[in-house]
Subunit: 264 residues, 2 copies
DNA sequence: CGATGCGTTCGACTCAGCGGGACGGCGGTC
DNA sequence: GACCGCCGTCCCGCTGAGTCGAACGCATCG
């Protein structure tokens, strides 16, 4: 490591560049160079140079208000293999599901110990659900998350069960044993439910999407106010949609491939 | 420049990294390291190291089939400022427009001499239109493009009018004078039309979206088979939707800011 | 009118990044 | 089964791109 290099950070330029991008939180607008330097632990001079090089590539945009995530990154992100093939296969089924139930529907994949929302079709009602395409949630307390966790590799399950299960609402399942039993039930029934476990007032049903190999590659869900959405009533609908997506994936010949890019 | 550095390429690591990402075309699946080296002009050794560093950040994913664009890039791309604020404001209006017309609707921004599609709601019919979110088209031969061009800075207009106007179909407008007059008409009427100018069998109407400042920041369009879509009949509908989005942008307090990140 | 915080610039040090080249494995061809 | 071509990977010596601290000019504020 470079003697002048500040501690803790990545040693490669690539690592620092993505560190800068990772400094942007979804609620952030434009960030100043100094703010970026503070968040990443890099020197102002380094941030200045890197940000300008990234702006040259369109990865960020510099304006009077500060630095923002660039449009080019949106464009490149649309090429991402996993979300793209899934979205293509799932789109019509999700549209039908939304149409049939009138509620917000999601498609999500698992990434580490979290769900990553890949697609969202909103209910025609006033927005109930504050999820976001590209947003993340923990695996253990959402319907999609529990479905994905139920079919996740053993080490991920172990990590989640061991890790602290934060109580996000009064109804969050924080007992590892209880959660484990629920995962088993999900594997039996093919659907996972959530009643105000991640957010008060919100209920959710989800079902797994299978690739040709039999591996679970995603999960579909219906989400809405718990006064309206009865998980057990909507279970057959999500299940049907999930099976439809699985079938479309098979005919598209999509292979899951065990991609776990980030070790650890 | 590094004496060993191969000629032509960017000098910064950042430039090389985005060069690698730019090597992926929308139709590409996984690319081999050697293929990436060929496309970027970098040595195999450099590609090998960079790709592995990028994989550590999730920017790409390495599998047995080769290298793909990573899920993390999708996630980061969703944070991009311009698409995000536009999508948020436009979503309900686009849904209404699709509902009312039954045709495919688009939201697009201009980037250089091209349109970049930011959102797409497909017609419920069989897929007619092969556009793609994150995809690009020339400004001069599409309805959205011409609308955006009609309100673009003078230098962009000059560049497009001067540049070669490729004849993509028998109906493509390739005479600069004709195109210029059409842009003036678009500025008067507030709608742009396209009848099989970019793709045979496809017609399109578009209308501009204004930010608070009065600047045009995007365009909405209705697209479909030219046998069904009559641009002049659907013009009021797109116009209404575009004005609605403009109003939503105003109430959201979105400022356009002249971001032209990539010089030239 | 000092204090604070911003973006920018300069300069000297140095190691991360560079490409050439070698290597082993794999699949097809003669 | 020898050969060839292409693949991913690894090693190595060189060097300049990347690094940070520090200083600067400029707003804004109390």
């Amino acid at each position: 490591m470079r003697s002048t290099q500040r501690d803790g950070g990545p040693t490669s330029v690539i690592g620092r560049a993505f560190g800068l991008l990772a400094a942007f939180r979804p609620t952030d607008g434009a960030l100043s160079l100094s703010e970026l330097a503070r968040r990443t632990g890099l020197s102002k001079a380094t941030v200045h140079r890197l940000v300008h090089q990234m702006a040259e590539q369109g990865a960020v945009e510099i304006s009077a208000e500060g630095v923002r995530v660039g449009t080019r990154l949106f464009e490149l992100g649309q090429l991402a293999a996993r979300p793209r093939s899934l979205r293509d296969a799932a789109a019509p089924h999700l549209a039908d599901l939304r149409e049939a139930t009138g509620e917000t529907v999601h498609l999500a994949v698992s990434d580490g110990a979290e769900v990553l929302y890949v697609q969202k079709l909103e209910s025609r009602r006033v927005p109930d659900v504050d999820s976001r395409v590209g947003g993340r949630m923990p695996l253990y307390c959402t319907a999609v998350g529990k479905v994905l966790l139920a079919h996740a590799p053993a080490d991920v399950v172990r990590e989640v069960l061991a890790g602290p299960l934060e109580r996000r609402t009064p109804r969050t399942v924080v007992a590892p044993g209880l959660l484990e039993r629920e995962l088993a039930r999900i594997r039996e029934t093919g659907v996972g439910e959530e009643r105000e476990e991640s957010t008060v007032g919100v209920a959710c049903v989800a079902s797994p999407v299978f690739a040709t190999s039999g591996k679970v590659v995603a999960a579909v869900s219906i989400t809405g106010r718990s006064t309206r959405v009865d998980p057990s009533r909507l279970a057959p609908a999500v299940r049907t949609a999930a099976l439809g997506i699985s079938r479309s994936l098979r005919s598209a010949g999509w292979l899951p491939e065990d991609v776990r890019s980030r070790p650890g």
